[in-house]
Amino acid sequence: MSTLITDDTQGFGPDNPAPRIDPPRARTRRSPRATRTNYEMYAWVFMRLSGILLVVLVLGHLLIQLVLDGGVSKVSFAFVAGRWASPFWQVWDLLMLWLAMLHGTTGLRTIINDYAQRDGTRFWLKMLLYTAAAFTIVLGTLVIFTFDPNIR
C-alpha cells in the first residue's frame, strides 16, 4: 500500500535500480595496500613530544616577550638583536620555529587525511601544505642565522 513518495520520473524499478553510491575510499580485498613503515607511529609520537616541548618553548617565549622587563613595550629591533647575539636564544627560536612548523604541518596533514575524500584533493592539499611549510622553515632558519644587527 504505502510506497515512498517521490517526485522523480527516472523510472527506477526492479529491473532498473538506482545506481549504487559507495562511500569514498571503501575498503576492499585489495586496498589499502600494506606499506609496512613506522612513519605513522613516528608522526604520532612526534606530535606528543613536540607538543610538550612547544609548551615550554612558547610559554617561555611569550613570558620574555610580553611580561618580563616592562612587557611588550620593550620589544624593539635592539631587543631582538640583543637576544639573537646569544647562541642560546638562536637555538631556542630555531627549535621553536622547526617544532611549531612540523607540529602544525603534521596536524594539518592529519586533518586533510581525515576530511579530504578524494585522492586528488588529498594529494594537492598536502602538496600545498608541504610547500608552505618548507618555505616558512627555510626562510625562518635563514633569518635566524644570517641576521645582521648592523643593518644600514
Partner: protein, 586 residues
C-alpha cells in the same frame, strides 16, 4: 538463475555449520550458505556452557555423562549416540580451546567447570562440575571462535542466501541421493542452484512458532521444512524443550548457569519450591521438570505478580562480584529489559520455548535417514535441525553446544569424505527451481489480503496456549484445528513489498509457511504420543509408558493423487546399550 558447483555445500553458519565447514574445507571444495551473516547465528545466544567430563575440578568420567544424558532424555536417547557424544566431548572442548576459545580458568590455568542441570556424579549421587564455560557467553565465544577459524581456513561463505529447497534424485520410498539446494539471494532476489555431491543441513531450530521463546526471529525451521517437503521424515518433533528461566513475557534466556552459580527459584511466598519436586538436586533438576514445577506453582496460585503468572529467579544472596564475573550478560539483560537490579531484586521469569529435540533423523555419522534404516546418499544434518538422537525426550543443558561441535565435526568429515570419494554430481531434476519460483511468485503476486503477521501471531498464540508445557488431547486437537485453519488462510497470504532487492517481507511469508507445516507435525506427533516423557507432558496420560512408547516418532508427509497432504506417523526403535529405563527422579 545461476548454477554453482561445489563438492560440499553446508546450509547454515551457526555452531554446527561452521564446525562442519572447518573440517569440510580441508578435505573438499566447500561453500557455506547462510541466511544471515555467520556471527549472527543463534549459537551466540547460548550462555551456560558446554559439558565435557574433563575432570578438571572434580572427579568425573564420560560414562557418568552418558548416563546423565540418557536419563535426562527420559531414556528416549539412542545410547550409542549418547556414548559418542560424551566420549568425544572431551576432545571437542580441547579442540575449541586450541582454536582459541577463551574459557574461564581454574587457579592452576586449566579450563574451569561449573554445575549444570541434570549433570551428576556417579549416576545421580550429586551435582557435578562438568560444564566448561566462558562467563555467561559460552555460545558467543564458540560462535566467534568458529568464525575466526573459518576465516583462518578461508571458508567460502555466501551470506544472506536463503536455502529454500533441497534437490534430491529418486522418489520417496526409493533410493535417494542429494543433488544440491536452491538458494535465494536476499540482496538481489536471484535464485541460485548449488549443485553438490554432499549437502549438510545445519540450519538450526524452529522455535518461532511459539510466542514466548528464547529463539531468534530467524529460527523458522527452514531446513526441517525443506527436507519435509521432499518426503524425508522428521523424528520426535513433539519433544520441544521449555527453558525454565526466560525473562517474563519476553522469553529472553537467563542461563541455567545462574542456578549453577547458586541462584534459587522462589514462588510468591518466597518458598524455594524446587525442594518439593527434586529433593536431591533441587533447582538444578532437568529443564522439563523445572518448567513443569514452575507452571504447577503458577496454576496452584503461588505465582508472583498481579496475575500470578511468573516466579522469581533469586540471585540476591550471591555476592555482586560473583555475578559480575560469572553472569555479566544476564544481569545486564535484567537491567536493560526489566529495569531490575539483580544484586538486590529477584528477576521475574517464566518458562520459554527453547530447543527442538526432534528434527531430521540422522545416523551417528550425520547421514540423513530416509526411513528407519536407509540413508539418503550425500545428505547430512547436524545441530538442532538434526535428531541423532542424543537428546531423546529432553536435552540436558550444555549438551547442545556439545552436540553442534561433536556432530558438526562428524558430519563435516563424513560429507567431505563422501564428496571426495564420489566422482560425479547427481543429476539435477529437470526444472530444479520450479517449486521455489512458483511459491515466491504466488506469494509476491497474491492479492489475497491475509497478512503474514496476523497468521503468525495466531499460530504463536495457539501453540503457546495448547501445545506448550502441559498438553492434553483436547488442547492438541484445538491446536491442530487452528493450524489447519491458518494453513487455509495462508493460501491467501499476500505481501506488500513487491520488489526484488532485500525483500524480507517476502521471505517472512515463506518462513511462515515453514512454521505452519512444522507446527502441524509437532501437534500430530504429540497427539499420537499418549504418554508423558521428558519435554512432552500429557495431562491426560501423566505417566511414562515404556511398553507402547519407548520408540521414536517418525513423521512423513504424504501427498495423494489429488494433491492432498497428510501426515503419516511411523515409529523407530530406541537403541539401548548399557542402561535400562528407570524412573527418572532427582
Amino acid at each position: 538463475m545461476q548454477i554453482h558447483k561445489y563438492d560440499t555445500v553446508i546450509v547454515g553458519a551457526g555452531g554446527a555449520g561452521m564446525r562442519a565447514a572447518i573440517e569440510a574445507t580441508k578435505r573438499s571444495r566447500t561453500a557455506v550458505l547462510t541466511k544471515l551473516y555467520p556471527t549472527r547465528s543463534h549459537t551466540g545466544a547460548a550462555q551456560g556452557g558446554m559439558a565435557a567430563a574433563l575432570a578438571n575440578v572434580e572427579e568425573d568420567n564420560w560414562e557418568w555423562h552418558t548416563f546423565d544424558t540418557v536419563k535426562g532424555g527420559d531414556y528416549l536417547v539412542d545410547q550409542d549416540a549418547a556414548e559418542i557424544l560424551a566420549k568425544e566431548a572431551i576432545d571437542s572442548v580441547l579442540d575449541l580451546e586450541k582454536m582459541g576459545l577463551p574459557f574461564n580458568r581454574t587457579p592452576d590455568g586449566t579450563i574451569d567447570q561449573r554445575r549444570f542441570g541434570g549433570h551428576t556424579r556417579n549416576h545421580g549421587e550429586a551435582a557435578v562440575r562438568r560444564s566448561c564455560y566462558a562467563a555467561d557467553r559460552t555460545g558467543h565465544m564458540i560462535l566467534q571462535t568458529l568464525y575466526q577459524n573459518c576465516v583462518k581456513e578461508g571458508v567460502e561463505f555466501f551470506n544472506e542466501f536463503y536455502v529454500l529447497d533441497l534437490l534430491l534424485t529418486g522418489a520417496p520410498g526409493g533410493r535417494r541421493r542429494s543433488a544440491g539446494v536452491v538458494a535465494y539471494e536476499l540482496a538481489t532476489g536471484e535464485l541460485h542452484i548449488f549443485r553438490a555431491k554432499a549437502v549438510i543441513f545445519a540450519s538450526g531450530g524452529n522455535g518461532k512458532f511459539y510466542k514466548v521463546t528464547s529463539n531468534a526471529h530467524t529460527l523458522t525451521g527452514d531446513g526441517q521444512a525443506a527436507a519435509w517437503r521432499r518426503g524425508l521424515p522428521l523424528e520426535d518433533m513433539e519433544f520441544f524443550q521449555f527453558h525454565p528461566t526466560g525473562i517474563w513475557k519476553m522469553g529472553i534466556l537467563l542461563t541455567e548457569g545462574a542456578r549453577g552459580e547458586g541462584g534459587i527459584l522462589r514462588n510468591k511466598d518466597g518458598e524455594r519450591f524446587m525442594e518439593k519436586y527434586a529433593p536431591t538436586i533441587k533447582d538444578l533438576a532437568p529443564r522439563d521438570m523445572v518448567s513443569r514445577s514452575i507452571y504447577t506453582e503458577i496454576r496452584e496460585g503461588r505465582g508472583c505478580g498481579p496475575d500470578a503468572d511468573h516466579v522469581y529467579l533469586d540471585l540476591t544472596h550471591l555476592p555482586p562480584e560473583q555475578l559480575d564475573a560469572k553472569l555479566p550478560d544476564i544481569t545486564e539483560f535484567a537491567r536493560t529489559y526489566l529495569g531490575i537490579e539483580p544484586y538486590t531484586d529477584p528477576i521475574p521469569i517464566q518458562p520459554t520455548a527453547h530447543y527442538a529435540m526432534g528434527g531430521i533423523p540422522t545416523t551417528v555419522r550425520g547421514e540423513v535417514l530416509a526411513d528407519n534404516t536407509e540413508v539418503v546418499e550425500g545428505l547430512y544434518a547436524a545441530g538442532e535441525v538434526a535428531c541423532v538422537s542424543v537428546h531423546g525426550a529432553n536435552r540436558l543443558g550444555t549438551n547442545s553446544l556439545l552436540d553442534i561441535n561433536v556432530f558438526g565435526r562428524r558430519a563435516g568429515i563424513a560429507a567431505a569424505e563422501y564428496a571426495s570419494a564420489t566422482p560425479d554430481f547427481a543429476e539435477l531434476p529437470e526444472t530444479p527451481g520450479t517449486f521455489v519460483t512458483e511459491t515466491l511468485t504466488r506469494l509476491r503476486d497474491s492479492e489475497g489480503g491475509e497478512r503474514v503477521a496476523d497468521i503468525r501471531r495466531e499460530l504463536q498464540e495457539t501453540m503457546d496456549k495448547n501445545a506448550m508445557v502441559f498438553r492434553t488431547e483436547q488442547t492438541l486437537k484445538e491446536a491442530l484445528e487452528d493450524i489447519g485453519a491458518l494453513r487455509r488462510r495462508y493460501r491467501n497470504v499476500s505481501v506488500q513489498d513487491k520488489g526484488r532487492r532485500f525483500n524480507t517481507d517476502l521471505l517472512e511469508a515463506f518462513e511462515l509457511g515453514n512454521l505452519l507445516e512444522l507446527a502441524e507435525v509437532l501437534v500430530v506427533s504429540a497427539l499420537a504420543r499418549k504418554e508423558s516423557r521428558g519435554g512432552h507432558y500429557r495431562e491426560d496420560y501423566p505417566n511414562r509408558d515404556d511398553v507402547n512408547f519407548m520408540r521414536h516418532t517418525m513423521a512423513y508427509r504424504e501427498v495423494d493423487a489429488d494433491g492432498n497432504e497428510s501426515i503419516r506417523l511411523d515409529y523407530k526403535p530406541v537403541t539401548q546399550t548399557r542402561y535400562q529405563p528407570m524412573e527418572r527422579k532427582y
